[in-house]
């Protein structure tokens, strides 16, 4: 996952509730709740920012965590979310939808 880009699946519903992110997939109606760190990664999953950059610039800037440990955890997380169809992983950058870009969703 050296040059990994992550984007939120268009089939997913999501909303911030307090410090956590609530997510539901339209494919299998499974409900998920992401903690504060995972929510930050989710919100940064614009398809255009490499995962490494998200970890360094967002996660490590906000939480006191070793960058390599954080990156390894982030890789595991995005792998699990991708397996469930919630995130899309690519090796090339892609832009967010116009509404998402405008509203930072």
């Amino acid at each position: 996952m050296k040059n990994c880009y992550i984007a939120r699946s268009p089939m997913v519903a999501a909303r911030q509730l307090g410090s956590e992110m609530v997510i539901m997939s339209a494919t299998d109606s499974t409900l998920f709740s992401l903690n504060e760190v995972a929510s930050l990664i989710w919100k940064s999953a614009d398809g255009a920012t490499p995962l490494r950059e998200i970890v360094n610039d967002k996660v490590c800037a906000e939480f006191d965590v070793d960058p390599e440990i954080a990156f390894a955890d982030a890789e595991r997380l995005v792998g699990e979310l991708a397996e469930r169809g919630l995130l899309l992983l690519t090796n090339e950058p892609a832009g967010p939808s116009p509404v998402e870009a405008e509203r930072g969703l």
Binding site: P10, R15, L17, S29, R103
Partner: protein
């Protein structure tokens, strides 16, 4: 696990004062004329697409996650898929309520592509003469069932909504068999509500008390009859001091004209999003805060009722009877039909009268507020 998480999230939304769920009617216009419908189908100035987009932005910012788009018939709006597409761009979890008459291949494809969580379709009977007789639209059962097949073939979650009334009382087993054949869920609901203008005439279409009792004691309908019809449990402080329902707490309803209500079944206008910001109404409306303040302990009649701990008393139906802190007779009837034990409201009303319950000649105008889900796909 999902249920436990859902309860946890609802509790958190309640604690934070977040409207986690909203029901938005995008139009009251409809291509059907269902005999029991409570709406005025004329267009008195629906919100435009631009106004609706602005509202959806506000709802997303307020924290709404579950969004029901309903009507009227949503597809009477030529711009419905623009509304839906925008709602999905904002990542709402969208449920559509429709009669599905206008859903063909193209619409089914769009519903799938836009990631709609579920589609609820009204089916009154498995027999065309009964269903179409209720909707007053010839061919409506055939078209609605065809739409269910189109949606299911694309993997969309579909639920049938089966409202029970006199015309179709004996067809719920047939509707369930149809649901099973189509591999969809079905909810059966014997609730008929007064019209929005207060006219209670439609309540006469509701099923009679004896029939209500009969279906409440049918395991095919309620599952575990013994449990469903158990005598009321002893009261505890939780029942007396808890929030009675989500109306105005984590849920709200918005009409096509921008009026905000605590619930689709609670016609207490709390403000209008054409004049005020949604969050200002949600947080500061005196009326919504009044509705929020209701606790069972403060209810003059119901707090003394044996059914209080198990009653599904609806403050909106009570409001339509004249007092949001008063009894909801529809729910009293339901409690009685389940248990055979009269509610405090019924006892009080019986005193000056000879009878409260209906007979074959004088059927009760009361129905019940219960919704039972079965036949999971």
């Amino acid at each position: 696990m999902t249920t436990a998480l859902m309860q946890e999230l609802n509790a958190k939304a309640l604690e934070l004062g977040v409207p986690f769920s909203a029901h938005l009617d995008v139009t009251y216009r409809c291509n059907e004329r269902c005999v029991h419908c409570y709406l005025d189908h004329d267009d008195h100035g629906e919100m435009t697409l631009s106004e609706l987009k602005n509202l959806l932005n506000q709802l997303a910012e307020a924290g709404v996650f579950f969004l029901t788009l309903s009507g009227g018939e949503v597809l009477m709006r030529m711009d419905f898929f623009d509304i839906l597409g925008y709602a999905r761009e904002l990542r709402f979890n969208v449920k559509i309520k429709t009669n599905a008459f206008m859903i063909r291949e193209k619409e089914a494809d769009l519903i799938r592509e836009l990631g709609v969580q579920s589609v609820q379709i009204s089916i009154y009977s498995h027999r065309p003469e009964i269903h179409d007789g209720i909707t007053k639209l010839p061919g409506s059962l055939r078209r609605s069932v065809a739409a269910i097949r189109l949606l299911k073939s694309r993997g969309v979650n579909v639920t049938m909504a089966n409202v029970l009334m006199r015309q179709n009382l004996h067809d719920y087993a047939g509707v369930r068999a149809l649901a099973k054949e189509l591999c969809v869920e079905v909810t059966t609901d014997p609730t008929i509500t007064p019209k929005m203008d207060g006219d209670r005439g439609v309540l006469g279409l509701g099923i009679r008390d004896s029939q209500l009792s009969e279906i409440f004691h049918d395991s095919q309908f309620v599952g575990n009859v013994e449990e469903f019809c158990a005598r009321p449990a002893a009261l505890d402080d939780g029942a007396l001091d808890g929030v009675p329902c989500s109306a105005g707490h984590t849920y709200c309803y918005i009409s096509p004209y921008g009026d905000v209500y605590p619930c689709v079944q609670f016609p207490l206008a709390c403000g209008n999003v054409r004049k005020e910001k949604f969050l200002d109404i949600w947080r500061h409306s005196k009326r919504i805060n009044e509705a929020r303040s209701i606790r069972a302990r403060d209810l003059p009649t119901c707090s003394t009722c044996a059914h209080l701990g198990s009653c599904t008393r609806c403050p909106g139906l009570a409001f339509m009877e004249g007092n949001m802190r008063g009894p909801s007779s529809l729910d009293c009837e339901k409690s009685f039909a389940r248990t055979g034990i009269a509610s405090a409201n019924m006892i009080a009303r019986m005193a000056p009268r000879t009878a409260i319950h209906g007979s074959a000649d004088h059927p009760s105008t009361f129905s019940s507020l219960v919704q039972i889900t079965s036949a999971r796909s």
